[in-house]
Point group: D2
Chain length 374, copies 4
């Protein structure tokens, strides 16, 4: 493996997602037989202290408090951006212009316009890109996609997709950037995952009819007063797929009790699939081809038959964790950089999700169907 080309990473941001990315790179290296040797080259944060401390903890060889310098470093191949959303665009454009590949946490940008600019830049410069939509990296979702493609469910007719959590359910949670237009709201933050999964599984959505509602109109401003919330708490949509299937989507961050309800149900002419992220190492499959009196949803547990599960464990039922999904994402991205396959979720796909979110929000305001032809 010593003869593998080196892939040097420059990470910007050392918060929760920065750490998750570092763990992901590290795990991917040991779990997968990657085509390149990952080198945690440099980590950047706003102060020397934070950056130097993170370098130690996360295993980077160098650190800096000047991300521009890091991007200028010719040794670095990939710029990995986990900085606040509002900085994504500037950092990505500079990195792309410098010839780097760019890995960016979701959302890609604050607006679809910005996301488009970033996407076009990446495509112009030939940068390999990745946006952090990691739920689709689950072997069970890959299985679902393959089963659908193979016709095991027949022709798909109905879909329900959710991503509901409760982390904004308390109305005493103070106003933050997430409650401003720049933050985007529940549909942008969580519903985006439901949209990504829906298109991952069933292909392009062509039309949407939205219903975005704000249930908590004001939140504490931190100074004893309140501030008006600018975004939705629940974003719902009816959707049409190019395949002819119809369905619904919901993103919700005030669903008291729900921690990770990234769920879907798919109904086809020959079978059905039911999935819940709450038990994300399982996929429930109903087949009308089973004998009469023996039909039922069967609980398929993740096992070596479901790539890339076997990279993590040779025995079935041991289960992957959330951080393992990040490792799968990283592995797919590194393979794409080495020209083995395509990026799991590149900037264009990230842009697509933002366009869908925008269309649903506009549809909700206007109370009419919007086209989202890809």
């Amino acid at each position: 493996m010593c003869d593998k080309p080196k892939l040097s990473i420059g990470l910007i941001g050392t918060g929760f997602m920065g750490k998750a990315h570092a763990v992901g790179f590290s795990a991917a290296q040991r779990v997968f037989d990657l085509p390149m040797q990952i080198n945690l080259h440099t980590v950047a944060d706003v102060t020397d202290e934070t950056a130097s401390r993170a370098a130690d903890e996360l295993g980077f060889a160098n650190w800096t408090s000047n991300w521009h310098e890091m991007i200028d470093d010719p040794e670095i191949d990939v710029i990995d951006i986990t900085a606040p959303n509002s900085l994504h665009k500037e950092m990505a454009l500079v990195a792309i212009a410098a010839g780097k590949h760019v890995y960016c946490e979701k959302p890609l940008a604050c607006t679809a316009e910005d996301a488009l600019e970033m996407t076009l830049a990446a495509e112009k410069f030939g940068a390999k890109t990745q946006v952090g939509f990691n739920y689709i990296c689950n072997p069970m979702l890959q299985l679902a996609k393959e089963m659908i493609a193979a016709g095991e469910l027949g022709h798909i007719r109905g879909y329900r997709g959710l991503h509901c959590e409760d982390y904004m359910a308390s109305d005493s949670t103070p106003f933050s950037f997430r409650h401003s237009l720049a933050g985007g709201g529940a549909l942008a933050d969580l519903g985006s995952h439901a949209l990504a999964t829906a298109e991952y599984l069933l292909g392009p959505i062509t039309d949407v009819l939205g219903d975005c509602v704000t249930m908590i109109n004001e939140r504490p401003n931190g100074f004893g007063g309140t501030r008006k919330v600018e975004v939705d708490d629940i974003g719902r949509a009816f959707v049409r797929f190019a395949s002819g299937a119809t369905g619904s989507i919901e993103g919700n961050w005030i669903a008291t009790g729900r921690k990770m309800q990234h769920d879907f149900e798919i109904y086809g002419t020959q079978g059905a699939l039911v999935f819940s992220q709450e038990h994300f190492n399982e996929l429930h499959f109903y087949s009308t081809n089973d004998p009469s009196g023996r039909q039922g949803f069967r609980r398929i547990e993740a096992a070596v038959e479901h790539p890339p599960y076997a990279n993590f464990c040779v025995a079935p039922g041991h289960q992957l964790g959330f951080n393992d999904l990040k490792a799968i994402e990283v592995a797919g991205y590194v393979s794409a950089i080495a020209n083995n396959g395509v990026e799991p979720f590149n900037f264009r796909k990230g842009l697509r999700i933002q366009q869908l979110v925008d269309a649903i929000q506009a549809s909700s305001r206007q109370s009419r169907w919007h086209s989202t032809l890809p």
Copy 2:
């Protein structure tokens, strides 16, 4: 109990629902301490043979093939209509005019106009009426309603209600009256239950935005050809409640693998409820008042604390069946006739559901929100 007033029943129709009603009357009599003595007086069907056979099997003292005669019989107090939908109106109006109480299987009528006429007639004549919406007779739904009313969930913000089955999922199932406008479609047939449960739990819906789709456009006509389906296979709606809650509804009869997905999820500021008819002797309750680190959806099993469970069994966890829900419905109706309480689901409520269905269908055609102010 010999001194209880007698309540004589005249049943029209001896198919599946007729039998279910007869079993319900019989079980209600033995399971509940009813204020009246039920007397299975006469059963009517289209032929003498069918009617006489049903009288024996179902325990009615008399039979007839002329329902008009039965309605004229002064000994009979209640006319119970389980005949085809298209006959409901005529039978009910004649019975009401004859001074009978009327129990009618759902849907109340083929159109909201007809349902309104029936409702006004019943109210004019003081008839006690009942429409067969039996899912709401579940002790777990009564519990849910009480918990919501008592504020155990705080203020309700989000709702999802479904009623999905697969009995029309095969496109080789021939065209029947259910596929005609008179039949109403999946929203009218199944979504109506989801709407009834939604209003039962959260109060009136004020606005709807519908999406009714036909996925199987043609069905075999039984003569080697096909016939165009006139109704929806999936009916979806976004809804607003007068309480301020928002939500979604789905009725679906092509949900492959689903036999009885009459489910709901309710999210409030202090807690949540999750229910599935697939396990209808349970209610899952999340409370933010539970201690930190000990919160979770708790599976409450039906028990004597949840009336009227104790009428069926003195020990917890033994479970009610579908037919028991019918017995509860009957018991509630008989009590109402004896002026103990109101009917569980009278004609006006049945009318209301049809108005909601109509509004959703109109909204879907016009792609705009419709008011459903009650």
Copy 3:
């Protein structure tokens, strides 16, 4: 159906089980096309008041406070005993000698010796008998039995059977006859159901190794003091089946939180079954014949393919309740009386269960395997 022979019932006891039997007879009559016409002839209880009141409520034509008189009545065909356990033997022997068929709630008797005497008497007189083990009347258990018999699981190797509840979990529950030797304890009361299900599914148990423990040694005696408990709170056993399968059994009435954990898991060479009474309208089936990567426990919901479900409902997934199981038991018993098939669970089977319980208890005292060759 008027030409069906009449079967007149004399019921002794009007408590919970008496009521359940009356409802069962009534429901069986309307739900099944029984070969005989059930006639609720007479009900007996200890006082005139109780008996007469029960006659009204439960629909019996006559009543008496003298059960001897009732047994002497030549019009009555079946004596149904739901009186206290200690009276079962006397009542049954008198009834059998009078030429009656006898239906007796479980346990058949207080000792295996008594049960044997009752069984021999019944066999000598040709009485059709029935003991109230109604869990095995579940269509899902019949399905399980058929699947095993048909070899769908291959050869059975491992079994786990439970019946755990918590109705004796509080140590402030006072001493009652159930805590005396006559009552029998948790193994006799609840474990007996687990044993009945085990032999119903897998055939005879040949050897047992028991572990019966008393966890609450004293209970309030109702006079301010306590009384020593004479029976087990948990009865466990390892078992060997004649088929070669091995397994374990547990009866437990102090399993806090469990209301109806009558569960089993069966592991064969080609498949497995998992069942819980907590969701008793489902059976979970794993088959090694499913394709690789698509294997999993599938949740089969009770439906018309699973007799006698269709007698209760023509559509799948509607679910039976506990009282419906009693109706199935009654229907099987009535059919046996009419010489259509064998009794679902006759006195000899009831005797068998008591012998197994005795053997486990003796095995526990002696800490060695006991033979239970049937």
Copy 4:
């Protein structure tokens, strides 16, 4: 962190468990704020090729095909043994004598005698030791232990513990060392986990009554013939705890369909816990302190309130995977080496498990209770 003392690891064996350990060390370093800096120093395997390749893939700086040399290297602090079971003893004794700390995959040794020798050596030399019982490193098990210790369940009365899989369910799986006395059988291989969890949660087991059975008596020998299996396929035991609780244990490797049924149920006077490794990020808790009519098993999802979950993710419900449990194990071990707390599962605990297994097997042969006083 540069000022943290370095802890250099020498790993023997590069198969599945070797890889899992390497990933565990790597993840522990990035996920936890460890008191020492982990240095993957050298990896040893039987050939130069295997060892050198593993060094690259797993991130070790050096490699060797001579494990003796590695143990002699004064730079190495910890010898991590994932070699075949039969080599554990020799390697561990040499390493301990050389002053190393020793991390050894389970089972510690082939016999309890060997395990005792290893334990005494480690204690004599002051070596910090660890055996790979990683299921107990689950935050949900730590939570269960804390809840029990805090009295949230009251006094514990009943326990059921399982570890069932199906990886030996096919009788065409050839004979291997696992089927020989040295391999130990299902009880030693899987039941050992159930025993470890039982004592982890409830404290010492004092008495056992075993039932160890071989269901597949012969297996293919790989040369066209068969070889007699020397060990059990299912090992069951009744157990007594020093606390007064009673329970049962099962280890089973022929449980068709089960991939990871490491489950337990605990019943106390005030509450109960139910856990399944099949959903190992959840713990189900029943409390009699909940209000009447609102009691039920509540599904607690792993969250930041449950250490060390927060080290992996700051948001609830994201879930840990199997490899994360290994990282927790490593972190606990490294902390113990740095004298922060005790080893999660040291040699003496590993020895204890083997003694319990031996006692159950002896008890099964003799059909009598055996003392296992610790």
